[in-house]
């Protein structure tokens, strides 16, 4: 791995291994399954790294580990050089605000009992004045191209695209540095995917964000990524610049993925 000296590494994952303990139906036999096996990669500040793999390949476990929701069995996750899994509670809360997830299922990611306004207020720095909060909410809403009418809606009153935009707005509102987009747009239809891809690249420039883009779909990866990593059966089998991966993939699985791609 060559580290570009001119750029700062924002997040580094070192030898990450996560095992799940599984039981059969009655819990008699127990076995461990490697969800992730010795995965290492880094993300430069301001870059979009895409991780591609099929459902169950472990790519979401990476996201969950980075987000401090699934603890690694071995390995480290370094954010600006600091080990995320050694943070104290206050540091962890500060870290969480810098690194925000957007999940596939927008329905599931929004509290059904809160209006959009309260959700966004929760994401803002609490110390702000009410006027400043309202100003920022408007700013973030317009950044994700939503009308202000949605503020007084509950999630179930919004369309799928609107919900995903609310999720993105909420992720921005914490003044985050990095978004983890875990299949964030994959289940949408293509026109909406196109909208969101465009939106994401605008936001990246506007708020100088770093993206970890996790997907099973190479077509959207081709549009958004700078570098691409391929995950198969819990291992990172190949990682490199987008053009390298798309033009001269080394691994047979990557070649097959490209060959079978949608178009």
């Amino acid at each position: 791995m060559v580290i570009n000296p001119g750029r700062q590494i924002l997040l580094e994952v070192k030898n990450l291994t996560v095992r799940y303990r599984q039981r059969n139906g009655f819990g008699w036999r127990e076995k461990t399954v490697d969800a992730l096996n010795d995965v290492s990669f880094f993300i430069h500040r301001g870059e979009t790294l895409a991780l591609v793999g099929e459902t169950g390949s472990g790519k979401s476990t990476i996201a969950m580990s980075i987000l401090h929701f699934v603890s690694p069995d071995s390995g480290e996750i370094l954010y600006s050089g600091e080990d995320v899994w050694k943070f104290k509670r206050a540091e962890l809360r500060a870290y969480h605000r810098k690194i925000q997830p957007v999940f596939q299922n927008a329905d599931e990611s929004l509290n059904p009992r809160l209006k959009v306004r309260s959700m966004l207020v929760d994401a803002l720095v609490p110390a702000l004045s009410t006027e400043e909060k309202n100003r920022r909410i408007r700013e973030y809403l317009s950044a994700v191209q939503l009308d202000e009418d949605v503020l007084d809606c509950f999630p179930h009153q919004l369309s799928g695209g609107q919900k995903q935009r609310v999720c993105i707005a909420r992720a921005l509102a914490t003044e985050s540095e990095m978004l983890i987009l875990d299949e964030a747009i994959s289940s949408q239809d293509l026109s909406l995917q196109a909208h969101l891809l465009k939106l994401l690249s605008e936001l990246k420039k506007k708020f100088s964000l770093t993206y970890l883009y996790i997907s099973h779909d190479l077509e959207t990866v081709r549009v958004i990524a700078d570098r691409v990593g391929i995950i198969k059966d819990g291992r990172l089998i190949e990682i490199g610049e987008k053009d390298e991966i798309f033009n001269s993939p080394e691994e047979p699985y990557t070649q097959l993925l490209l060959e079978r791609s949608r178009f």
């Binding site: 929701f69 809360r93 925000q100 059904p112 929760d122 509950f154 909420r170």
Partner: protein, 272 residues
Amino acid sequence: MWGEKTFRCGTVLILTILLLCVCLPWVMPQDPYAQNLEEISQPPSLAHPFGTDFFGRDLFSRILYGGRLSLTIGIVVTFFAVVIGTIIGMVSGYFGGWPDAALMRFVDVMLGFPRLFILLTVIGFTRPSFGLMLAVLSLFSWMEVARIVRAEVLTVRERLYVKSAVALGLSRRRVLFRYIFPNILSPIIVSATLMVGSVIVIESGLSFIGMGVQPPDASWGTILNQGFQDLAGAWWITLFSGLAIVVTVIGFNLVGDGLRNILDSKTGVRES
């Protein structure tokens, strides 16, 4: 909300009973304690719609007065049980680890005691009183709620909106009260309404065997007990006090079931 039929029936029933119990003692002419030895054990008539008891007291008035006690016990005990159960369940479910293990073992221990026998023992050693019964019933009724709440918290805790809230850097208290609590409220409310009915039944049972409310105070249980002393001769005493219990319990259960339907369909939370 009003469109839900079960809920509407239940609410009308409960409100009627509450209204009767709360207001009618002022409107009703007969004093429930006034004994009238000339009208002992009268069957239902125009003057006494539910008849009279062995001391010639008007049964209708007594049942309404008794309802005050029975309902108070039902509601107060449920309130305390739900508060205790919710707090313990939420702490247990949200924090997990050793607090969870400790609290749940405590719940198991509490459930291990047969509630009725504990009540009998405690009351047997002291003088039966209204306050004591409230306290003991409350202390031994929250376990079910704690378990329901814990299970719900465990499910909701894994939902992505809770994870997203954690990722917003919100404090644990805020996550618990703003993101988890409102989403487990409906099972709590439902189990609370169902509980009121069961507490009333237990109270009646205790009073029936003479361990609850003491004469001359009346609760539905004591009146029922009285009726049993001469079931063949004065059937109406048993019938009407029993009916009062049954109707109230049904009313609360209807409200509970109706609320479940309403809360689950609203906001599309459980819509498939």
